[in-house]
């Protein structure tokens, strides 16, 4: 029996649906949203009438909300998911284009406005996270394309005076083969929009054998713009009459600004418009960002301790990460159950051999390269426009409505492309600049763009949690594991964001300790909740980012103790799991056959390999890493990774995402950590906060295995198996067991 009393990661980001949508407002915005949008002659896709707008919206069905087809045939698609490097705009164009029968590489894709049309995920959710965009919506988005194609066929049937049954399509055209006539989609769009949208269940999706674009390495639609500086991010937003703002946050969360001792001098500095006191921060509004930044950094602020700290997330002056790690390691007790099978306690008592070890992870910054920003503009008609980086437009809009007292239909959220996210742009208490930007715009009566400097970003980022996990395993007389126990002392990201324990255990705290597929009959996975003052967030692959490191490294310790090869032990424990044993064999084959080493490479260096697996976000992965030691430092030469997401939309993007996730996994295991001392982060910029640099990148070789199982995620799953594969290789090479990340600061000899 398996009991998993846990919640989904990101569950707290869910939002009730049913809020009315104002389509005409969206249309107005699209028509006035700037140069690129203004260049379009709107064809297909006029406002849905008020009568129909009152009916309950079935998300992902109202074609005019999603698609415009210009007279010249150019297609604009409103994407429910935001592009931040993961390639989702291209994937959405492929899905819709496949069924619409239109070349996805000719699409212009934008992040859609708020509203129920775009809440296409199950239960009416809309987030870009949890590696869920394509897997949650691929059938809905294909159906949308198919509905659009039906409307174009119907319009062509009327225009040509022939039955729909005599018409077919080729990319961008409706064709009447019998008469040799064909009509471009652009010429039909205006007529098609007058038609009622057919019932969603009236269309039939293509058989996959007929796919023209799905499953193909279609080129990304945003690559040229991103190679020529034309891609526009939130930080680039500009409106007439705009002022710029910079902030200085309290050095520790919970402190409030008292007197600004040199306020008069600050106000007198060049370019300064005004000085403001905000919750937990002081701000300078100026004519240019440089003036604002220079002035606010010169501000000498008396920060006051809060009167009471019970209800806020307060960072005490004596907090340090080494001391907190020691506190996590000192916890005891059974913890709260996350997953159990068999009777682990009894099996451990009666085992021939018991192995135990304690593992530790580090806090991590997101360190996306685009610092957070927000542009806010109150309009004369009482409406508010906000441009901000975000992974969940409706959630942010609802929060802005609550903060400003404005109804939702007076708030327009603009969600530009993200300069990286990795989980950074969810709504985090204290972690987003929009409340400050909105307050400043209101105070000065002009539009204000606030940018958080890198230093302020590293001060207020929401971090990947630190955890200490105590493992025990019981081995039988043959050295095979019968029982495993893992107790994680940590606060999960979901608990951290909520700033309280939920009724159920936070699944994002323990995922990767739970959900493992190895046939170990007695299992007990638990959490000891230890609240941290550090603000927590979702970081690429969330709990899996550290928990698979813990588990897969400890599994190698089990193998060592039982006298087994780590690859052979995994194969043995997966003997009844065809999908995962196939995947494990695939990665071994990709690497030229499994060999643990150590051995001498052709260049004379002594090397070893490690293997690890993970089951994140509905996808299965297996990785092998090859390492050597150069000048006491770990060098990762190659990473082979086999990934089985069930089925895929774009193999080139899958390969790119596995490489990207592998880089972040390498960064985590090799160099990265957020250290606190005296209640403050030691690193406030990239000089002190190390991320993977080009010279530490490994060659990543990806093999995609399509098992045909239910589609899984792509953006995050390439990460979790990499740190343990590297650590296991290092342990093999050095004979010294790696039990903590990062490796930087630990000394190694081959």
């Amino acid at each position: 029996m398996i009991v998993s009393p846990v919640e989904d990661a990101n569950e707290d980001q869910a939002l009730p649906t049913g809020a009315p949508v104002n389509i005409s407002r969206r249309r107005f915005l699209m028509a006035s949203a700037g140069a690129s949008a203004g260049a379009f002659v709107l064809g297909f896709g006029l406002p849905v009438g008020p009568a129909r707008a009152q009916a309950p919206v079935v998300p992902g069905t109202r074609v005019p909300a999603f698609l415009e087809i210009r007279p010249d045939g150019l297609i604009r698609l409103q994407s429910p998911f935001v592009e931040g490097g993961q390639g989702v705009f291209t994937a959405m164009a492929q899905l819709v284009g496949e069924e619409l029968d239109a070349d996805p590489t000719t699409f212009v894709v934008e992040n859609a406005a708020t509203g129920p049309d775009f809440q296409v995920m199950p239960r009416g959710r809309r987030i870009t996270g949890g590696s869920s965009s394509v897997r949650s919506s691929h059938l809905v988005m294909r159906r949308l394309g198919a509905i659009g194609r039906t409307m174009l066929l119907t319009a062509a049937s009327q225009r040509l005076g022939v039955p729909v049954g005599e018409l077919t399509t080729e990319p961008g055209f409706v064709v009447h083969a019998a008469s040799g006539r064909k009509l471009g989609y652009g010429a039909l769009a205006a007529q098609a929009l007058d038609l009622p949208v057919p019932a969603p269940d009236s269309v039939t999706l293509k058989d996959k054998s007929k796919f023209r674009w799905i499953g193909k390495p279609v080129a990304r639609i945003d690559v040229r713009a991103k190679s020529t500086g034309k891609a526009v991010y939130a930080i680039d937003a500009h409106v007439d009459g705009m002022l710029h703002a910079a902030v200085q946050h309290a050095p520790r969360l919970g402190l409030e600004p008292g007197t600004i001792r040199n306020e008069a001098a600050i106000k007198a500095m060049a370019g300064v418009h005004s000085v403001h006191v905000l919750p937990g921060a002081v701000a300078v509004v100026a004519e240019r960002f440089w003036y604002a930044r220079r002035a606010v950094e010169a501000a000498e602020v008396d920060w006051r301790e809060p009167a009471e700290t019970a209800t806020i997330r307060y960072m005490p002056a004596d907090f340090s990460t080494p001391a907190f790690a020691a506190r996590l390691a000192a916890t005891d007790g059974p913890g709260e159950l996350a997953e159990t099978a068999g009777d682990a306690t009894h099996a451990l008592e009666t085992a021939a051999t018991v192995v135990s070890a304690t593992y530790q992870s580090q806090y991590l910054n997101h360190a996306q390269l685009e610092p957070p920003s927000t542009l806010a503009r109150f309009n004369p008609d009482g409406t508010l426009d906000v441009w901000l980086p975000n992974q969940a437009p409706d959630i942010f809009a609802a929060d802005i409505a609550q903060r400003t007292g404005l109804p939702l239909d007076k708030i327009t959220l603009h969600s530009p492309m993200l300069g990286g996210f990795f989980g950074r742009h969810f709504k985090y208490n204290h972690g987003n600049p929009y409340p400050e930007a909105i307050a400043l715009a209101k105070a000065v009566g002009r539009p204000v763009k606030l940018i958080w400097t890198r230093e302020e970003e590293f001060l207020r980022d929401s971090l990947r949690p630190m955890a200490v996990v105590q493992f025990r395993a019981g081995l039988d007389a043959n050295g095979l594991p019968l029982a495993i126990e893992a107790i994680s002392a940590c606060e999960g990201p979901g608990e951290g964001i909520a700033n309280k324990r939920g009724e159920k255990l936070d699944g994002s705290a323990v995922e990767g300790l739970t959900g493992k597929q190895y046939a170990i009959p007695h299992r007990r996975i638990a959490q000891r909740f230890v609240k941290t003052p550090v603000t927590l967030g979702y970081w690429r692959s969330v709990g899996n980012s550290m928990n698979d490191f813990f588990y897969e490294c400890f599994l190698d310790e089990i193998a060592d103790k039982g006298g087994k090869d780590p690859y052979e032990l995994r194969l043995h424990l997966l003997a009844d799991n065809r999908r995962l044993s196939t995947l494990l064999k695939a990665v071994a084959e990709a690497s030229g056959g499994w060999k643990a080493g150590p051995y001498l490479a052709a260049d004379g260096s002594r090397r070893a390999r490690g293997v690890a697996m993970a089951s994140p976000f509905g996808t299965e992965t297996a990785a092998i890493a090859e390492v050597s030691i150069v000048d006491g430092e770990v060098k990762v030469h190659d990473i082979w990774q086999a990934i089985d997401p069930g089925s895929i939309v774009n193999p080139a993007i899958v390969t790119a995402q596995v490489m990207s996730a592998s880089a972040l996994g390498l960064s985590q295991v090799l160099v990265e950590q957020a250290v606190y001392k005296d209640g403050m982060p030691v690193a406030r910029n990239f000089d002190m906060y190390q991320v993977l640099r080009p010279d530490r990148m490994a060659a990543v070789h990806t093999r995609i295995v399509e098992s045909g199982e239910k589609m899984g995620g792509i953006g995050e799953p390439g990460l979790p198996a990499v740190p343990p594969a590297v650590a296991n290789a290092v342990s093999r090479l050095t004979g010294k067991r790696v039990r903590a990340m990062p490796l930087a600061g630990q000394t190694f000899t081959a």
Binding site: G84, G85, Q86, G87, A219, R220, D222, V223, R224, A225, K226, S227, T228, G229, K230, A231, V232, Y233, I235, D236, H238, H244, A270, R288, F289, W290, A367, Q368, L369, E370, P371, M417, L418, G419, G420, F421, F422, I451, T453, R454, A652, A656, M659, S660, A661, A663, L664, L666, S667, N685, F686, D687, V691, L692, R693, P694, D695, M697, A699, V700
Partner: protein, 154 residues
């Protein structure tokens, strides 16, 4: 007022001499293709070319580049080498989030201008900008491709 030569045109800007070139480019001139990432010359997102040499504009006082030719990403395709770099970036599908790529393209253009056939060591020394998406391997492949295209060397 300070007179600057930006992308071949003379532009007058109202800024103090110590202002970092980055913010003059972005806020005074509205050329937002050049990015702010760190402000301390660590990440390279702000890279532009000054007289054809890649320079981190976030720590470059604007007064220090008066009279010099400033090239930003907006004019990269007007440069024959820059155009080749952009085509290589597209061919290799380099960008992911894209935020660092203006600076990466600048660094690669400057490298190829100085050395049409860079060695691995030359590439290591020149291509040091950070990319949080981890496109390093693809960047390297694109630069190798450019370096190997002898017949196209500018």
């Amino acid at each position: 007022m300070i007179k600057l030569k930006v992308n071949g045109a003379i532009r007058s800007v109202d800024a103090e001499g110590e202002t970092p070139l980055l913010w003059v480019i972005r806020d005074n001139l509205g050329l937002t293709g050049t990015k702010y990432g760190c402000g301390i010359a660590q990440c390279g997102a702000c890279s532009v070319m000054i007289d054809g040499v890649v320079t981190r504009s976030c720590v470059t006082p604007v007064e220090s580049v008066v009279g010099k030719a400033i090239t930003t990403i907006e004019a990269i395709e007007a440069d024959p080498v820059g155009q080749r770099v952009v085509e290589a970036w597209v061919r290799h599908q380099v960008p992911q989030c894209g935020y660092c790529q203006s600076g990466q393209v600048m660094a690669a253009t400057s490298l190829i201008k100085a050395n049409a056939r860079p060695s691995d060591d030359d590439i290591n020394a020149a291509m040091t900008n950070l990319c949080r998406c981890g496109t390093y391997t693809t960047i390297r492949a694109a630069v190798h491709d450019l370096a190997g295209a002898k017949e196209h060397a500018a």
